[in-house]
Every structure is written in structure tokens, then in C-alpha cells.
Amino acid sequence: MVATGAAGTTSRRVQPIDSTKVAVRMVGVGKRYNGHDAVSGLDLEIPTGSVVGVIGPSGAGKTTTIRMITGSLAPTRGTAEVLGEPLGRRSRRTRERMGYLPQKFSLYPDLTVLENVDFVASLYGLLFARRFRRRRQVLELVDLWSVRGRRASALSGGMQRRLELAAALVHEPDLLVLDEPTAGIDPLLRRVVWDEVHRLKERGVTSVVTTQYVTEAEECDLVTLISEGRRVAFGTPDELRRMAFGGDLLEVTTERVFDVAGLGDAAGIHGVQQTGPRDFRLVVEDAGAATADVVQAITAAGADVAAVRESRPTFEEVFATLVERHRAQRAAATAEAGDGGGDGDGDGGSTAAAPTEQEAA
């Protein structure tokens, strides 16, 4: 499935995505360590020029997925292509088109900031003039040019993170793989990082980003939610919201106490939830189109509407709802399968993830 570009106003940065070109394609990919499936049956297509977030709880398999994309890990199942070449047979040219920011600091503490960036630039084959120009550009970008002569060991954790980012960007990659780029840095710099990711997107750079800050999913064009090594959901942030709640949400306040049961099976209302004596939340197919019908139905039920507005649940809510639902489905599937169910060999991942996405669809 290739999700189309982020629509409407949900995404902060909306750029058209050419869904006909795919930077990363993974089909039924699994990675097994010591008898345990770190990732199982993962399908993922990342359109060229998009910003794709990989989110999930700790230990969900995000870093394993990322490392398979970078070529650090080889899948034990399935097939994958990165920048048009199969994993494991990637040419040097293709590798030069990729930038990678690992989760932990992996540069050299005894080298200065400038030397570290210089070293990585050399690894990616940047010749002298371009290297000198780029190392200054990226260090200025991450605000480390003024401390370029300082050893990396003398930098704070946030500065080391920024140094890693500079090293990942120095060779102007077409595909940028960032494993928790904003971990450990202050909110202002997190903003700088995301601004840079969006700026690169405007130049056609594809970014795959994992993050521990679920709210940062809003920064992405597409989000893949992973739990227990399996894909739970994939789509735009708005699509994930709809997957989580079954549609758009309307927050309604009435003039007096109103029992939502009085709404009955009004057309267009998929679900209701009383949140207060005069407050309730409705799940509708399309918030814009359904508002007038909802007001009419409430009025018909004998109440006056004081306020109605579209609700945008936080991504924490979306994330928690989808993950909990996925876990419940997995537990039910395991119970049905009896003792023989186990962790499966990977194929179960696709089938476990599919109902979640299909439900919302």
C-alpha cells in the first residue's frame, strides 16, 4: 500500500509526494534474533521525497527496521529494496546516497567536531572543495561551527546529537535515515531538526525517522506504527486518527443535560461517548459534512446545541488506542490458536496488522 500525500490541514508541512517512485520497499520482511522475532512480516513502501515516521513503544522493532533499511542488518525473511537496489546487493553509489544517524553516539570522542564531520565526509567520498564547503554548512546548520575545534568528548549530549546529525547530512544524501534524531535535545533544537528535515524534503530528500516523541508523528507525511515487531498501522497522521477512532470526532456541548442514548442510530454517527452531563463525543464519517446533520439530530431529540467543534485527539491517544487494540487482537488470536499459537514465524504479523487498518478503512 502506498499512502498518498498528507491531506487537509493535519500535517504541518504538506508537500506533494510522488507516490509512483518508491525509495524503500519492504515486503514481508522479518528479522529473527536468537529465536525471537524482532520484526515480523513487515510491509512498507516509502515514497520518494516523503518524510516517514516509524513510531512504536520501546522494543517494538523500530531500530531493527531502520537498521535493515541502512544495510546494517539483513532480513531473515522477505524482500526489500532501497533506492531501487535489493538489500545486500547495494552498490557503493547507492550507499553514497544514504545518510544515517544512529541511535547512540558513534563518532570519535578524541576527534574534534570538525574532524569528525570531515572523517564522515571522506567516507562518503566528498572531495576536497565540496567537503570544506559542506562541513561548514552542516556545522552552521546545527549550530556547532563555533565549537568546531572542541573534542567530541567535551560536548554535551545534545551537542553530540547535533554533531551526529551534521555527519548524517554532510554528503547531501537522497535518503536520510534518522534513528531518534531529537532524543536528548531541547525543544528549540528539536524544532531546528524538523525544520531541516522539511527543508530537505523540499529538495526531494526522503527521510525515515524514528522518534520516541509520539507527537512528532505530526511532522511526518506518513507514519508507520510498529508494535511487537509488527506493523499496526500505516498512513498519514489523519488516517491513523481515523483508524484509531473509526472516523472524525466531534465534541458537542448541549444547553442542558442530555442523554446520548437519545440520539439513537442517527445517520452518519458511528459511535457516541458521553464525557459529561452536557458533553459528549461523536464519531462521524466526515466532520465537515456531518456537523449540520448532528445538530439537527440533537435538536430533534429535544436538546439545544451550545457548541460543536471538530476534535483532534492527540497522537498519544491515537498511538495508545491503536497499540492497545493490536495487543488485544494478538492476545485473542493467540488464545484461539491455543498452545500452538506462540509468537509465530512472521507471517502472522501481516494478518495481525491488517484488521486494524481494514477496520478503519
Binding site: 544495510g71 546494517s72 539483513a74 558513534s106 576527534l111 571522506s122 567516507l123 572531495l127
Partner: protein, 396 residues
């Protein structure tokens, strides 16, 4: 363009390694001064000869043998220092047990009568040691002592003109001095080596070879293990860097550092410690280069098979220990059984010591095959390590 980028990567790896080493002042000092200081302390502190063993001689009061320590010291038995002559064997053995003496020699009660009876008189040597080398040394000294005593008995017989008919070819030798009769021959040692042996001259090149191997093994092994544990290898896997470039870069960096340290150490050895330098500097440089390449190959191998920095350090130290025992540094390789000798040839330092001693002390390669062996060992170790590094850089 491809070749240019390859060279760029090799130089960047090499430069990074050199900068990292030089950024640690303590490491630089120990790298440059360490080998020289070790050699200097060894050379000045080691005399090359064992101290004389404190010896107690037990003599029966009724014996005709001398009763004073000076008489035994005059026998000329090297390695023994007679500190006491006593008739109390039990007391002498107690002092031996207490560590107040190294050897107790019990002289035969009546050697002349025993000899007249056609039997050999026992000269009992008692020691108290668990050290096999010390035990062998004491046995050697006991034989020397026995020979000296025999000589003394001959000398006394000749001097006193007793009833022994000492003739050669029927000729009466009564006019020949007793010392000559007792000891008709004496050894005259000649050494064909260009220079007289000296402790620091002999061990200097050996210590240099040992230190160079240890430095090369440790530096390169720790370098890769640290990169693996720090996540840099993960970065390499996703980058265009190839195993060939990584290996060449590291070998070049540590080879250059090792070469600089070797050059400085040789200069200090020759000019400050007086170690001879009879061979050509080019030949010495060739040996150092081959030794460094083989040692770096060994270090790479250790780094690839180690799963932690601790294991790499342990394996490096085990290599050092094996080198101390089996390379010819302490004991000559010829003293080991054939299988152990063969094993010792897999240590670069075994050839390094032999070749450096040859070149610096004699100016010729007495076993040129060791040059080939050292080069071959380096090639095999590097090729094996390169294959393993290449496997490591593939997706896990």
C-alpha cells in the same frame, strides 16, 4: 574518480587513527619512551650472571680434608661461595631450610681410603628449591665442585709423592708440577662473533621486537573492538567504506606509528645504550616492516574474534606471554620440543628477534628463510583478517 575516492577513504581512516593516538599524551609518552625505558632498565639492571650460591661445607673432623672455608674457595669452583665449614650436618641442613644458605656440600669422610678400596667417594650436594632452573644450576655446580675436588686430590697425591705411579707412556712424571698432573688440560674459549657478547647488546634487539609486536597487536586490536562497541562499525556497514580500505587505512596508520617508534628506539638503543649496529639500516628496516605487518595482521585477527574490549586485552596479553616464553626471548627455541618450536614460528616476534639480532649484532642473516617466513606469516594473517573484517562489514 573511484580510485581517488578509495585513496581518500584510506587516508581518512589512517589519519583518524593517527590523530586518535596522538590525542592521548599519556599514550604517546608510553609509546615513545616506554620501549626505550624498558630496555634501559633491563640493560642496566641485569648483570647476566647468577650470584654465587652461599655454600656450607660439612667435613668430618677426622677427615684429612681442609677445615677452613678459604681452602675450598681456593679450589676455584665458580658459582659457589663457601660461607662456612662445619662438622654439624644437621645444623647445616637447618640453615638451608631457613634460607640462610643455598647449598650444603657434604664431603666424604675418608676419601683416600675409599679410593684405595677401589670405590668412588660420595660428594653429597644438598639443595632446597622448587625452581627447576635453580636445581639444574646447582647440579651443574655440584659437578664442577666434584671435578675441582678430584683435581685437588690428584694434586695432593702428586705433591706428596704417595704410592701412585703416575706415568704417561712409561715416563715418570715426578718432575711435572702437581697442578699440571691434576689438571692436564685447560679450556681456551674463542668466539667468532664480530663483537664480544653483552647483555644489553643481545637482549636489546629482542626486547625491541617484542615491544613492537605488542604495540602493534594492542593498538589495532583495541581500535576495531572500540569501533564495534561504539557503533562505528554499524556506520561503516551503511557507508561506502569497504573492508579493504578499512584494513589498509588501519595498517598504514599503525604501521607508520610503529615504524616511527621503531626508528626512535633503534636510535636510542645504538646511541644511548651502545647496542651494536653492524648490519645495514635498510636490512633492519626491512625486518621491522615485516614484523609490524605480521603483528598488525595478528592484532586484526584478535580484534575480529574478540567480542569485547576486555577479551581483546586478554588475548593481547596472552600473545605477549606466549611470546615471552616461546619466541627465544628468554629461552632459546631450540630448547623446546619440535611441536612447540613449530608453534613458536607462528609468532611474528620469533622471527623478529632472530632477524634483528642477526642484523644488528652480526650484520648477516644466518637464517634468511625467516625473512620469507615472516613475510608469509604477515600475508596470511592480513588476508585472513581482511576476510573476517569483510564478513563483519556485511549486514548482520
Amino acid at each position: 574518480m573511484g580510485l581517488l575516492k578509495m585513496l581518500l577513504r584510506i587516508f581518512s581512516v589512517a589519519g583518524k587513527e593517527i590523530i586518535e593516538v596522538l590525542r592521548r599524551p599519556g599514550a604517546v609518552v608510553s609509546l615513545v619512551l616506554g620501549p626505550f625505558l624498558i630496555l634501559a632498565i633491563f640493560g642496566f639492571g641485569y648483570g647476566g650472571f647468577k650470584k654465587d650460591l652461599a655454600t656450607i661445607v660439612v667435613i668430618d673432623p677426622a677427615s684429612s680434608l681442609p677445615q677452613d672455608a678459604a681452602s675450598y674457595q681456593d679450589l676455584g669452583t665458580r658459582g659457589l661461595s663457601v660461607v662456612e665449614v662445619t662438622s654439624d650436618r644437621a645444623a647445616a641442613e637447618e640453615r638451608l631450610r631457613l634460607g640462610q644458605a643455598d647449598v650444603v656440600i657434604v664431603a666424604p669422610t675418608d676419601p683416600v681410603s675409599t679410593i684405595e678400596a677401589g670405590a668412588q667417594a660420595d660428594l653429597t650436594v644438598i639443595i632446597n628449591t622448587t625452581d627447576p632452573v635453580a636445581a639444574n644450576y646447582a647440579a651443574f655446580l655440584a659437578d664442577t665442585m666434584s671435578t675441582a675436588v678430584n683435581r685437588e686430590i690428584y694434586r695432593q697425591g702428586a705433591e706428596q709423592g704417595q704410592a701412585y705411579a703416575i706415568t704417561i707412556g712409561g715416563k715418570d712424571l715426578s718432575q711435572v708440577p702437581p697442578d699440571v698432573i691434576a689438571s692436564p688440560t685447560k679450556a681456551v674459549l674463542q668466539n667468532l662473533a664480530p663483537l664480544p657478547p653483552s647483555v644489553i647488546g643481545f637482549y636489546g634487539p629482542a626486547a625491541l621486537a617484542l615491544v613492537l609486536q605488542h604495540l602493534a597487536v594492542t593498538l589495532i586490536a583495541l581500535s576495531i573492538v572500540r569501533e564495534r562497541s561504539g557503533g562505528a562499525v554499524d556506520r561503516f556497514r551503511s557507508s561506502p567504506l569497504r573492508a579493504t580500505e578499512l584494513v589498509i587505512g588501519k595498517v598504514a596508520a599503525f604501521g607508520l606509528l610503529g615504524g616511527a617508534i621503531a626508528a626512535l628506539s633503534v636510535w636510542l638503543l645504538v646511541n644511548l645504550l651502545g647496542v651494536p649496529m653492524i648490519g645495514s639500516p635498510g636490512s633492519v628496516a626491512l625486518v621491522v616492516i615485516l614484523l609490524l605487518i605480521a603483528s598488525l595482521g595478528l592484532g586484526l585477527l584478535i580484534s575480529v574474534i574478540s567480542d569485547s574490549e576486555r577479551q581483546a586485552v586478554q588475548l593481547s596479553l596472552l600473545t605477549l606471554l606466549a611470546s615471552m616464553f616461546f619466541s627465544g626471548f628468554v629461552l632459546r627455541t631450540e630448547e623446546f620440543s619440535t611441536p612447540v618450536q613449530v608453534m613458536s614460528y607462528f609468532l611474528p616476534v620469533t622471527h623478529g628477534i632472530s632477524l634483528l639480532q642477526d642484523q644488528m649484532l652480526t650484520g648477516v642473516f644466518t637464517a634468511p628463510w625467516q625473512l620469507v617466513a615472516l613475510g608469509g606469516l604477515g600475508a596470511v594473517l592480513l588476508a585472513t583478517s581482511w576476510l573476517l573484517v569483510r564478513r563483519e562489514l556485511r549486514p548482520a
